[in-house]
Each structure stands twice: as C-alpha cells, then as structure tokens.
C-alpha cells in the first residue's frame, strides 16, 4: 500500500521489462572431496569466476566446496587451482569467498539453503535471500548416478528430493526463473523429475553415459577439469555483460564430438522461449539502466496522504507481536511415564518355541517326555 503510484507505460518500457527478474543469485556446489576429485572443485570455481566477472557479487553467490584443493599438501602449487593445463588459468585467485566449506557441504545444508529453512544463527553470507523476482543459477558437480548425486562419499541427494526442493522454492516464491546445470555422470537423470514452472535444466551427459574428465596435468598429477564445464567455461569467457547471446547457444556447447557424452537440456517447464533468454539473465547481474530525456508523468492517488497518516496511528495502537505455539510443550511435560513392567512373551516367540518342541518330540518320540516331567 505504500507505493500507490500508477504510470503510463511508454513503448520503451516494453523492452525494458522484457525479463521478469530484478536480481540474480547463484548457488554453486561441488560435492566431492579428496585430491583425485580436484577437477570438481576446479569446475565449480570456473563457474564462480565467470559469474562474478559478469556482475553477480559475492553477497549473492552461495559457494559450496567440499574440499580444499588449493591448500592440500599434495598441491605442488599451493594456493592455486588451475583449470587449464600448463597452468594457464588460476581460478582460485585471491578474492574467492567460500560460504560452505569442507564438511559443511551436506545434503541437509544444501536443501536448507535452497528452501530457506535456516537456523536464525546462520550468517548472511550462507543464506539464499532470494525473492520472487530473483533469477537463480544452480550449478552442481561431483560424482553421480542414475537419479542421484553423491555428497562427500557418505550420502546422496536424489532427483526427487531436488524436485521437491524446487517446488518448495516455487511455493515460497523464492525464485522467478531457475537455471539448473549439472556436470556429473548420468546427469540428465537429475532433471527428469522437476515439476515446478520456470525451470530450465542442462546436464553434461544422458542416463547411461559417463561425463569424462579433461586436461590431465602431469605436473600436478590429476585431471584439472571435466569436459563439459571446460567448454562451458570457454564459451562463457567470450560473454560480457552486454552480450546478447541466448540460451540456444549454450545448448550447443560441447557437442558429442568434443564431449564424448551427449549433453542434454530441458525447457518444457520454462515459459519463455529459450532464444529470448539471454545468458546474462542467469550468469550475470545486469542492471538495466536507461537514460531517458523524456518525462514520464505519474498520476497521484488522492488517498495517499490520508493512508500515510493512518499508518502512523496504527503503529501506536498495535499489540506486541506473539509467535504461534509450535510445540505443545505443556502436553509433553505432563505425559504419563510408561510402565516398564514385564510382559509375557509375544505370540511369535511362543509359536516358535512350540514349533521347536513339537519337532523335538516328533523326531525322538513321545517316550522322552518322561525324562522331562
């Protein structure tokens, strides 16, 4: 009720409000630890670098890295993570801000970040504070299979859980549009189950295919990148904030001849045509600023001033806020204690013993009964 202005839409404004988002967020997740999974951290950091270069600030990026490759004792070049062999490109840099690190990257934390069900003590940098006008980029990489993604060698997230999390986000109005990119083996299985609107998904390989690694570097001793993300990074290096490249170009990145696996995408839940969706709608944080020399006339509501005064009076008369009772503690405390007395054995045990005794007497004859009784 505060801003009750109405305005006349000029023809330029059509173009101005082509996409429905006003802010951009990115959630970048690397789910594998251990030195031989160096490439997954490099993947995530490459996307982080591109996203930051195109304008999304650290406060709007949630970066989750499951292991620290830069400071691993096995790294011959400490404090660096390279994405090209011969050490051409150091994606670690000196202004990387990791929000969830090491053992904090769990399925639970990831789902809490997405859905916003976060304990109040969580710092702001660890929250996804998106609203219904946010475009969110979610990038995940690691080891996966048909319908699941492995987190840290100890747990998995299934495609159904992910789809449900996105549905929760939709119902809580936490996104305007969502771009989901996954670079794992059989990645296409992760987006099969999405059912919420405005989601576009890309994966590096189809069900039954493996995503392959790239850039073996003998000096460091590991593979540095995965193929799909390597070519996506090359593609993104040519994008700048003013690029008009659209999503159809991203779908063409890494054909089977380069990637060996077949990348896939899913656009049926997305309402706009992909050729009208700019790369910078998701990867960048482009603020549309148009300088106009015309005046735009805005009519005023007559009730504006009176409603303003009403708000002020309402503030004084408001009652103190109270939280609803979430947990009926009173009922729990007054619960009667359970009686821990002996119960005769249940039917199953009785039946089992009866069976055993019957077999015994059948085999050895009833005459042995007299030795017992």
């Amino acid at each position: 009720n505060l801003l009750a202005y109405s305005f006349v839409l000029s023809p330029f404004s059509e173009q101005f409000f082509r996409s429905g988002h006003t802010n951009n967020w990115a959630v970048l997740v690397c789910t594998s630890r251990f030195w031989f999974n160096y490439r997954h951290v490099a993947n995530t950091l490459s996307v982080y670098r591109s996203v930051k270069r195109l304008g999304i600030p650290d406060s709007h990026i949630v970066l989750m890295l499951a292991d620290d490759m830069a400071c691993n004792p096995r790294n011959p070049k400490p404090a660096t993570v390279f994405s090209h062999k011969n050490m051409e490109l150091n994606v670690y840099g000196d202004d990387v801000e990791v929000d969830y690190r090491s053992y904090e990257v769990t399925v639970e934390n990831f789902l809490r970040v997405l859905t916003g069900r976060i304990p109040p003590s969580t710092p702001r940098s660890k929250r996804l504070l998106s609203d219904d006008r946010s475009n969110i980029l979610i990038y995940m990489t690691g080891h996966g299979g048909n319908g699941f993604l492995k987190f840290q060698d100890s747990e998995e997230i299934t495609n159904i859980e992910l789809a449900d999390a996105f549905e929760q986000m939709w119902q809580k109005r936490r996104y305007n549009e969502l771009l989901f990119i996954i670079d794992t083996c059989q990645g296409a299985s992760m987006y099969e189950r999405f059912y919420s609107p405005n989601i576009m998904a890309l994966a590096s390989s189809q069900v039954g295919e493996d995503s392959l690694s790239h850039q073996p570097d003998p000096a460091i001793g590991v593979h540095l990148m995965d193929r799909y993300t390597f070519y996506v990074l090359e593609f993104l290096e040519e994008i700048n904030p003013a690029s008009q490249t659209n999503m159809n170009d991203l779908f063409q990145v890494c054909p089977k001849s380069l990637c060996v696996s077949t990348p896939g995408h899913r656009t049926d839940l997305f309402q706009r045509d992909p050729k009208n969706v700019l790369i910078t709608d998701f990867f960048g944080s482009v603020r549309k600023v148009e300088i106009t020399t015309e005046t735009i006339s805005l009519q005023q509501y007559s009730e504006m001033e009176s409603s303003y005064k009403e708000d002020q009076m309402d503030e004084e008369l408001m009652e103190p806020l109270k939280y609803a009772e979430q947990l009926p503690v009173a009922q729990i405390i007054h619960q009667k204690p359970k009686l821990k007395d002996w119960h005769p054995p249940g039917g199953f045990i009785l039946g089992l013993w009866a069976l055993i005794i019957m077999v015994f007497f059948k085999t050895y004859g009833i005459k042995h009964m007299k030795f017992i009784f």
């Binding site: 031989f36 004792p73 096995r74 011959p76 003998p218 001793g221 593979h223």
Partner: protein
C-alpha cells in the same frame, strides 16, 4: 524312518559309498591337480588392473636427473665401506644431513642360535641409519619407506647412491603429504627386522636393539631396492614374503604401470612376460612362473626386506636390478624415475591399500589368479582325505553293526569293535608321534653343543645332521610301539588310527591352505595319495617307498630340484644334496631370527601326522 536312521537303508548307502569311493578319490585328486595346472590358462587368469582410485593413472611428470650424483654417492659409499669393513655410519649420517633429512641411527645385536654358514655370521651386531624427509605441509601421521639393505656379501652401493640422490631430489619438492623414511640397514634382513621391531615397539624375535629416536607415523607402503651395478638390463620384482604373505596387488600393478610408462624391462621370478596368450606358449610360460611363485611362497622365506614389512601389514615390494648380457641397458636415471613416479603416486593415497587382492597367484606380471579361482584345487585334494575318512568310518560301523546283529544274545555281548578299539590304543601312537615331532623341533638346536663335543662337525652341520637323524629314527618306531600298546588291540585297530590320522592331516592341511595356499597345496599334492593308499595289507615295500618319498623331507628335496629346474639352472645330485642341507639349516635359522613358521609346522604338525601313517603301514 529317515535315511540315516534306518539300518537297512544305511547299509545300502554304506555299500554304495564304499563301492564308488575309490574312483571318486582318484577323480577328485586328478581334478585338483588338473585345476591347478589350468590356473595359468586364460579363463582362470585375468588381466591386472588398478583398483585404487586415488592412485589413478601414471599421470605424473618425473623430473629426476640425478644419475651422476647417484653414481658419485655410490663410489664414495663403496670406498668408505671397503675402508671400514662395516657400514660407514658416520659418512652416511653426514651425507643424509647434507641432503636435508633428519638423520637417526639404531644399533642392534643378535646371537644366532647356531652359526650361519651361508652368510658366515654368528654374533651379529650392526647399525641401521635412516633419514626422515618431513612432509612440508602435512602432519606426520603417515609415511612411506624406501629401504636399501646392505649386507657383507652384497654391498648394494649403487642402490645406496640412488637412495641418496633420490632423497636430495625429493627434498626439493613441496607436494609430499606423507613423510618419507630413507632406510639403510646392515646385515640385510636382520637389520630390517631390528628396525621394524623397534619402529612398531614389539619384540617378536629376540633381537636386542636400541630404541628408535625418530618416528614418522604409520607406514603405508615400502619399497626395497637392490642393485648390483650402475646399469641394469631389467628390474626383477619379488612379492612373496615371510610365511607366504603377499602385498596388496595394487602395489604390483603400480610398479608394472611405471615399467610400461618408462619402457623398462620388468620381470617376475626372473622370467619375461609371455607375449601371446592365445596360443599354447604363453600359458606354458605362465605355468612355469606360477610354479616358481608357488614354490617360493611355500618356502615361507622372506625373499627380500619386503617380506618382513608384510608382517606389520605394510605393503612392500623388493626391486632387484639385474645386469645380464642383453644389449639394451638402463641407467640409474631410468630406475630413479620409475621410483619417483611410484612414490609420487603412493603420495596420493588417502587410506591404506585395501581395494585390490591380498591373496593371489601370478602367472605373469600383468596377469593374476584370485583366491576364489585357485582355492577349489586345494578343496579337491582335501576332499580325497574326507572321502577316505568317510569310507573308514563306514567300514568300522559296518563291522560293528554286523557283529551286533550276528552276535549272541548273551547279556555280556562284546562291544562293537568301533568302541572296543578303545581310546587307549589310539592315544599311544598319537602321543609317541607327537613326542617325536617335539624332539625334532627342540633337540637339534638344544643339543648342538653336545653333538660338536662328540663328533667332528661344526654347529650348523650338527643341527642339520641331528634333524635328519631324528627324522630317520622316527621311521624305526612302528617296531617299538607295539610293545607299549596292549596286545588286546584287535585287527580293526589300524582303521581307527588311520581315520584319526586322516582327519588330523585334513585339518592341518586345510588350515595351512587358507593362510598359505602354496604350502598347503604342495603338501597336499604329495601327501594325500600316500595317506589315502596306506594300509597294512597289500604290497608293503611299495607303500613304504611311497610314504618315504612323500614325507616332508623328501618333498623339500624334490621341490628344491624342481625350483632349480624351473629357473633353468638344474642341479646335480651332489649339489642338490648340499643345497638341501643348507636349506634345512636356513629353515631352522629363519624360524629363530624372523619367526618363519615352516620349520615348526613341519616338525610339530606334519611329521607326527606322517609318522601315524607310517605306524598304520606297519601295523601288525
């Protein structure tokens, strides 16, 4: 009534089993031997593959170029060693410190039970020198060991030079996540055993050693190197360890991948890899290699320092550089690069090697047979013993049932012979043969001084000759035990004794085959036919000859001949006998110095069992 409780049906079943038993036994034995021989052929052998994900491929860049430095270190080491006659401890300490390692020494001493004639030592005392390269950015929780054994007969100076040059090179790298211990031991395996015991804070073999002052964390893997010259034509790898333990197959796979990467010629048991496995030549060569491995594993000797590491579950290999008459030679840089690559890959490990097999047989360096595929061979052989025991049991009960049915209805019916044999007449042979085994185990070493006083022989010879004397004295037993046992033992007594002996043998061989398949299989292949066939009736001299020829001593003699035959250096009879005597002495010695179990197993376990069969053969 049931099949087993109905006497009529049971008799029919017993008759069926008795009729089919002999062909079944023969079939089972032949199947066991045939299965073993088929292990070298393609469906049963598989290609090796790297199971540990952390070690991945050979994607490392080896940068070792210190060949000249290694050679100069080796020359210095050889010169100082010649001057001092023992390990030049001060020079080693100085050099290791200059290379940048933390240096510690450990002194040890041991009085062997009797003089060792092959190495010419009796009172052994020496010093081990080791340097620790600390991982620059990791806590010292894990370590790798690179060891070079130095003995009086094999100075191994080239390997020491390479060790020092590699240490200098490794010290300049910052990617080590585990500490590396560079260990130079004196008196080869004795020094290694002393160091290992002190490192793990145990005392298994009675070695007196000074406590260690520097530790580096749990050892994940170890590589031992023996070089005789500064150019090599091939690298031979030894995997069999103490008591037949084997390292994890992944370590061997790692070595083999680096051999391929560096183009080095690598051999197993001194034999090259067969190239084609489709025709008959490849598998036959594989069979030779397999037999060599079986013989070496059965002997239970540590064939290099790695064998002693395996006891502490540290995966280890010994690499031996061989300089033969081939034209193409590799210098120290090539060997150094292979070692550097191996250590760099071992550095990537996060856990102990556990993904690949611990129990396997190797027909070739790139082929293996897993335990699931080779165990049925031993199973078939032991089945023969089981079938024979079953047959004897049925015969004993048949006789018992027959007597019971046909015996008089008097109240004092004689007990069936199965029970009437009585434990008394079984206990005597058992006790006597166990006592002989105990005598075989204790007397040679205990009585060596008495023997040297009365006979003009050295202590080692006295031990060996006492061993043989007690072994042969056991053959005279059956003629004496009958005076001890009461004359009431009926004719079927030998059946009960043979039954017990068969079960005893089957138990022993079964347990041995589980831990050391090669030893179990070898003993089963030789002892099972004799054990199954022995009986007092029938051609006694033939059975006696068979039993003597398949006894533990003759098996040892035969396997020595077979071993040298397979290595293409056949022995004459005299040489073979000398080698046999030396092997006996070494076996006893290794039991006392390293805890090898072949001597106690044969003396306390198999020899008494074999004596029982001898007793059965001469049953009156």
């Amino acid at each position: 009534m049931g099949l087993l409780s109905d006497p009529v049906r049971r008799r029919a079943l017993a008759r069926l089993v008795l009729r089919l038993n002999a062909p079944l036994c023969v079939l089972s034995y032949v199947a066991g031997i045939a299965w073993f021989l088929a292990l070298a052929f393609p469906p049963l052998t598989q290609r090796t593959y790297m199971s540990e994900n952390a070690m991945g491929s050979t994607m490392v860049e080896e940068q070792f170029v210190g060949g000249d430095r290694a050679r100069s270190f080796a020359r210095d080491f050889a010169a100082y060693r010649r001057k001092s006659g023992a390990l030049p401890v001060a020079w080693l300490e100085r050099t290791m410190r200059s290379v940048g390692l933390e240096v510690y020494t450990q002194s040890f001493s041991r009085k062997l039970p009797f003089p060792d004639e092959t190495h010419e030592r009796y009172m052994v005392s020496g010093t081990n020198v080791y340097g620790i390269l600390r991982a620059p950015r990791a806590a010292s929780t894990e370590s790798l060991v690179f060891t070079v054994p130095c003995g009086s007969d094999s100075t191994n100076s080239q390997a020491v030079g390479l060790l020092l040059a590699l240490a200098a090179h490794f010290r300049g790298q910052i990617y080590w996540a585990k500490d590396i211990i560079f260990l130079v031991t004196e008196h080869d395996l004795l020094g290694t055993e002393a160091w290992l015991e002190a490192y793990h804070d145990v005392n298994v073999t009675g070695m007196q050693s000074s406590p260690l002052q520097g530790w580096a964390g749990a050892i994940q893997a170890a590589v031992a190197l023996e070089l005789s010259s500064d150019v090599v034509t091939s690298l031979d790898v030894a995997v069999e360890g103490l008591n037949g333990q084997l390292p994890n197959l992944d370590l061997l796979n790692l070595f083999q991948t680096f051999c391929q990467k560096g183009g080095l010629l690598c051999t197993l048991q001194g034999k090259l890899q067969p190239q084609d496995w489709t025709s008959l030549d490849g598998p036959l060569q594989g069979l030779q290699t397999l037999l060599l491995m079986v013989l070496q594993q059965a002997s239970g000797r540590p064939h290099g320092p790695h064998g002693l590491f395996l006891r502490y579950r540290v995966e280890a290999l010994t690499l031996r550089g061989i300089n033969s008459f081939r034209q193409y030679k590799y210098d120290l840089v090539a060997v150094g690069k292979a070692l550097e690559g191996m250590f760099r890959k071992l550095n990537h490990l996060l856990e102990r090697l556990h993904q690949s097999f611990f129990l396997y047989l190797l027909p070739a360096l790139s082929r293996f047979v897993s335990i699931g595929l080779y165990m049925p061979a031993a199973g078939f052989l032991l089945l023969v013993l089981g079938l024979k025991a079953l047959e004897l049991w049925m015969q004993l009960h048949e006789a018992g049932v027959g007597l019971e049915a046909g015996g008089g209805p008097g109240p004092s019916a004689p007990l069936p012979p199965a029970q009437g044999v009585g434990l008394a007449s079984l206990v005597a042979p058992l006790l006597v043969s166990q006592a002989m085994g105990l005598a075989l185990y204790i007397l040679p070493v205990l009585g060596q001084h008495v023997a040297t006083q009365h006979f003009p022989v050295g202590e080692a010879e006295a031990v060996v000759l006492t061993l043989l004397a007690i072994y042969v004295a056991g053959l005279a037993l059956p003629h004496n035990t009958h005076r001890v046992v009461s004359t009431q033992a009926p004719d079927r007594g030998w059946m009960a004794l043979k039954l017990v002996a068969l079960i005893y043998l089957a138990l022993q061989l079964g347990c041995i085959a589980l831990t050391n398949f090669s030893l179990g299989f070898l003993l089963a292949a030789t002892m099972v036919p004799a054990a199954a066939l022995t009986e007092p009736h029938g051609p006694r001299p033939l059975y006696a000859a068979l039993l003597v020829l398949t006894g533990p001593a003759a098996t040892l003699l035969g396997s020595l001949f077979l071993w040298r035959e397979l290595q293409e250096a056949p022995l004459s009879i005299a040489e073979g006998w000398q080698l046999f005597l030396a092997a006996l002495a070494q076996g006893v010695l290794e039991h006392y110095t390293y805890g090898a179990l072949l001597f106690p197993l044969l003396a306390l376990g198999l020899y008494p069992c074999w004596l029982l069969f001898w007793n059965v053969l001469f049953w009156k």
